[in-house]
Symmetry: none
Subunit: 249 residues, 2 copies
């Protein structure tokens, strides 16, 4: 997908513009457009809140009208939480992202100002309305938060497979190692009198084996746990020696 | 799904706490937990930025430790953009929301502080890491934005119907029980000299906590394992008595 333009219509607070730019940069989006920003441009508060996204990572371009700002867009979506009574499809985020993905050229997403939201004239220029599942009793999303949700949804749809910077959990240990660990544990528990009376042995062993098997431990974790069993089984003596030494002090 | 608790660990700026509360209210979430907020609580800046969410729509509860804040949680997710080198599953938002939906009791989602993110000790207490597809070159999400993404993803999933829940394995134990078990185990291992030299304590404890947390044990399994620890810790004496008796025969 061609990365969409994020178009803020008559934004008021520089802080919100900056926070919007920051979260766009978080999700690899760079085309920010400002229609008639109240306090002019550039805006020091916007740069501060952008945490380094402005002016270099995200490019902000100022336009006089919505029409100019969307001139190169083949698809335009309008974000709003309010019913409009307009003959216009209302999309959930997932559907909206599908529309963006299937548009071969530039798309634009309109965001309204802090108080007023998008004016009807701007909504009228959009192909569809993008609506968030907000609580009807607390529906007013912060501007930068609305930008965050759309940027995130686009990046989620673009990302396929696990995040490259993370290592997943290692493979579970070969079953032989797991069984060895469980047998070691059971042997020590037997020596400690855990399976008394003897009728408890089978159900208790089964419970423990179910729990350990489901845990999916790696070879390293199995090995650490065997060390822990050994310490508990043998360490008691050490502790006593140490306590005796303490007593002698 | 039981609405998850959103847990901010050592948050610094009241503004971010307020913005987080606001977007929680936007998506119908009300259980905000603060672990050791830097500037104390209540916080006037938080109330201002919450746009009316605090103190009445969203309830903020202050805790001293992460362990206390997650005590009643059966599933704990840690949000972080940073690789950790921990043996812990890394989930995309959609998978994370499925896990939340299939957990029949309370879940908690951990969010780190503005600069430092989540400390490793907090991540070690989580079942899985929730990772956003951020740009590697601009990875630092604003705290309230991270909260917004999760709140939104939960509301989106709720709006589109839950996936079927898993059957067969019981629900994971409340986190309080799991933490109690791990602390019990660690205390006995300490007495047995397992954490020697002392520099081993932190990495060993983290490895064990990761392994136990990932295991997803039920209350019954946690209880059985505590019995086993107790037997190993106390049983040595019994075994010796028995062996002494054998010797006397």
């Amino acid at each position: 997908m061609v990365p969409p333009a994020f178009i803020l219509v008559a934004p008021q607070m520089g802080e919100n513009i900056g926070a919007a730019a920051r979260v766009m940069a978080n999700f690899g989006l760079t085309d920010l457009r400002l229609v008639a920003p109240r306090d002019g441009w550039p805006n020091p508060a916007a740069e501060t809140l952008s945490a380094g996204a402005l002016p270099d990572v995200v490019t902000a371009t100022v336009f006089g009208t919505v029409e100019q700002a969307i001139a190169d867009c083949a698809l335009v979506l309008a974000t709003t939480a309010r019913p409009r009574g307009m003959e216009k499809p209302v999309l959930r985020t997932a559907e909206a992202v599908e529309r963006l993905q299937s548009t071969p050229s530039r798309s634009g997403i309109l965001f309204g100002a802090e108080r007023a939201g998008l004016p009807n004239e701007a909504v009228a220029l959009a192909d569809a309305i993008l609506s968030f599942p907000v609580s009807p009793r607390f529906a007013s999303l912060n501007l930068a938060q609305a930008v965050a949700l759309v940027a995130f949804a686009i990046a989620e749809a673009d990302a396929s497979g696990p995040p490259p910077t993370f290592e997943g959990v290692g493979a579970p240990a070969p079953r032989e190692e797991l069984v060895g660990m469980m047998e070691h544990f059971e042997a020590e528990l037997h020596r400690a009198g855990f399976f008394y009376p003897d009728a408890k042995r089978v159900p208790m062993t089964q419970n423990l084996r179910n729990a350990f098997t489901r845990a999916g431990w790696t070879s390293q974790e199995v090995s650490t746990f065997r060390g822990a069993i050994k310490a508990l089984a043998l360490g008691r003596g050490k502790a006593r020696v140490r306590r005796d030494a303490d007593d002698a002090d």
